[in-house]
Symmetry: C2
């Protein structure tokens, strides 16, 4: 039975997609069967794996809204040992369409059920908003949410809203929803601000901040232009080491050896 983690933060550009791809790739590297689900209409997770989103016929939209079967819609990348349910351009229209559908908040969770036994890990990438698409991501997070937080001041501002939304979902739709972990990203040691933000976030989430902190590294911004995770693009970089450490930390906590 797969562990399902959803990457969520409505603050934009904090490393949600980058963390989904690189954590996914290292989980594959450690022998886990991994599926990435791209819930973002921008389809950044899809293109980070070298897939042209305009060529995607059946993706997240078709599966979640159009009830196309999920298994044949999943693309496999043998080199990376990870699979992806890609985002097609139609996903941009899903916000409005989801509002009128039955069980509109549970569509992603229900779409994943038939394949939970085929993977060890499923990582869901969300857009930078707290809309119905992201609510679907929260309810599908069977093992909790991973919250990437950029080590910059403006990223602090949105944490309150995010935790309020999580509490609202726990109260009304999915009581077992948990925060699985908070990942500090884009840490730049040249400024005291980064350490201040880390300390602030640790006060907010005393037990959930991962020990691993991802440094700011231009290599991470270059890798998607080659359709590669950092593990293949720059395996000896500090950023690669950080995502490998994070993966080990998660596997250890999950009791996977």
């Amino acid at each position: 039975m797969a562990k399902v983690y959803t990457l969520v933060n409505q603050k934009g550009g904090v490393g949600k997609t980058t963390s989904a791809i690189n954590l996914g790739a290292y989980l594959g590297y450690f022998g886990q069967k991994v599926l990435i689900v791209d819930l973002d209409p921008q389809a950044n997770a899809t293109s980070s794996l070298g897939i042209d989103k305009s060529t995607v016929k059946n993706g997240t939209y078709e599966v979640v809204i159009g009830s196309v079967p999920i298994a044949p819609s999943i693309l496999h990348n043998p080199r990376l040992k990870i699979s992806i349910l890609p985002a097609s351009p139609a996903l941009a229209g899903a916000e409005i369409e989801l509002l009128d559908l039955p069980r509109r908040e549970f569509r992603v969770r229900e779409a994943l059920e038939p394949i939970l036994d085929r993977y060890n890990y499923i990582l869901i990438d969300c857009p930078p908003s707290l809309s119905i698409i992201t609510i679907n991501g929260l309810i599908a997070a069977l093992n909790g949410v991973l919250i990437p937080v950029q080590c910059e001041y403006l990223a602090l501002e949105g944490i309150g809203q995010l935790t309020q939304t999580i509490k609202r979902v726990q109260a009304s739709l999915y009581p077992e929803l948990i925060v699985r972990g908070v990942l500090m990203t884009m840490y730049d040691g040249r400024t005291r601000l980064a350490a201040d933000v880390v300390n602030e976030i640790k006060k907010y989430f005393p037990t959930q901040v991962f020990q691993t902190i991802v440094p700011r590294s231009i290599r991470l911004a270059e890798a998607p232009s080659y359709g590669l995770p950092i593990a293949l693009y720059a395996p000896s970089s500090g950023a690669a080491k950080a995502y490998m450490d994070l993966t080990r930390e998660i596997l250890e906590q999950d009791g996977v050896h």
Copy 2:
């Protein structure tokens, strides 16, 4: 009569808020009367000017949805010579509420009408999405949109969707909507990727990319934690010079001396 520019890009973390605040501050520095309108529920523009969003009673939500008069809701910052219509926490609920209101796409535009003659420039900051709040921002952009684009690969992916949305708004709701300019941000000279992205964007917008390119600078990430624009926080930095140059470029093109 104010010139109204809206900063828009659904890709997260590309410098929309940073550009609204720092362009705004330098317009004030050059003697222009400036109003910032914070349309983002994260209220980053509000907090970048040192305002605690939880203390905001009447902000964008109350004016646009609750029909509270706009003028008394505007906060003035004498030191910066700029004013702001701040975002209050209630703005997070606006997405759903706007959908049922009459003239739901024109609420921001109509809310600004009574005060257009009090300012020289009005800059509207949007959230990272193409939702009804952002559509309001597009329709209120009397003099066009400013599109900040981060000089990184993933930021390229969303441009197609953004221009499609602009075309849809032109076709159905606001034919005179234009792209006033595209601002390249977070340029990091250490990687060839940045120059590649700039060239790619210039092919997409042959006549609209501003000459000024904003470099990646940690000073810009530090400034909001002090509630200051770069003009006051680090006036001799490369980032400050870039936003000053951008402001001059815009004033010159607008025929303001």
